[in-house]
């Protein structure tokens, strides 16, 4: 329904406010994306793209939050320990 994928802006190709466009890399696949609704996003920033249109810029700090509170629960490392042979 709303498949939207995070991608990294590699180049800005049009800076007009309405047709603002950039080349965005999705794990190596590069596509042209309309960036008019993320005016503050620039090269190397990550944006969420749906049908060739950026709907948001990724919040790096928030991206870590779920892992931070999982670590706080303290058991994440034990689970990662290789079980004794």
């Amino acid at each position: 329904m709303c498949l939207a994928v995070p991608g990294r802006i590699v180049e800005l190709t049009d800076t007009d406010p309405v047709t603002r466009t950039g080349r965005v890399s999705f794990g190596g696949i590069v596509r042209s994306v309309n960036l008019s609704c993320v005016p503050e996003a620039g090269v190397d920033d990550y944006v969420i793209v749906h049908v060739g249109f950026a709907i948001s810029q990724l919040d790096e700090a928030e991206a870590e939050r779920v892992f931070t509170y999982l670590e706080q629960l303290g058991e994440l490392d034990e689970i990662r320990q290789p079980s004794p042979a």
Binding site: M1, A4, N34, V51, F53, V66
Partner: protein, 368 residues
Amino acid sequence: MKYIDEYHDAAAVHKLVAALRATVTQPWTIMEVCGGQTHAIVKYGLDELLPPEITLVHGPGCPVCVTPVEIIDQAITLAQRPEVIFCSFGDMLRVPGSAQDLLAVKAAGGDVRMCYSPLDALTIARDHPDREVVFFAVGFETTAPANAMAVYQAARSGLTNFSILVSHVLVPPAMEAVLSAPHNRVQGFLAAGHVCTVMGIDAYHPLATRYGVPIVVTGFEPVDILDGVFCCVRQLETGRAEVENQYARAVRTEGNPRARQLIADVFEVQPRRWRGMGEIPASGLGLRPAYARFDAATRFALDALPVADSGECISGLILQGLKKPHECPAFATRCTPEHPLGATMVSSEGACAAYYRYRARHAEDASS
């Protein structure tokens, strides 16, 4: 890929499942609204990891699935016109209208093209000034800014051979329809993350308060979905009914103000018929009068008489979480992705398609 792979971390998944087991004390029924979430749940078998007390039911969040038959028939009528180039997202091409689908029209010579973006359809219109280019604008709030931008750019550049056939629907009214149905059993929601990326989360507070249900804005990867279920269960177990934002890396409280303004400039809220659920007031978007010339339904004077669904298909019940695909007698026998009876089997995000693709063996076990 960054911001995806980290959320497939098995240790984090197991940690969340353990936290869920330690939290849940009684049965709970939770609905994930978005077809993309349904797809991830069934694909990764996340529901099978959950403690038995938790039941996930699949919601109406698949725009392909909820598009009424008469709009598919309108699309087919347009695609058959010699002067029209009909552009659409891929998964709309195989949805059965009352007599055929768009791929059949293409096979019979209609100019039907698959587009990744409505802005690509705009380029086609510029490249073919002698043809009428129509884009099938289907989707929830997530897709609305892109469709609005296509119309806005067409108006700004004076393009006269471009129009859109609109089938835009909104999530909050559909959730309210599910909640207010007499036989509703949904006690909490995983809200559609990317809809909230655009629209924000304010529209959900009245629902949470009025119906006393927790609503957790949730992402689409395994860690996101389990984290969303965990946040929802934690609220249910403590008697809370609040809106919570699990997907904060992509969703701000106010959503994307520019995108919301763009949508408000081009579209207005209208009543919409939902396939299998009937008409829901103020549950869709239509073009504002200022952009009426870009509305294919008026430009081509298409009639909009409601068409009844095929009797056998129970997609309406599946979309409201009242039935699961296995409970349909036609599932995986008369109804398959190659010969779909209804939209929930056609769309890759439909619950029936997801079950057929990832769960068909259960159906065989059940029937053998």
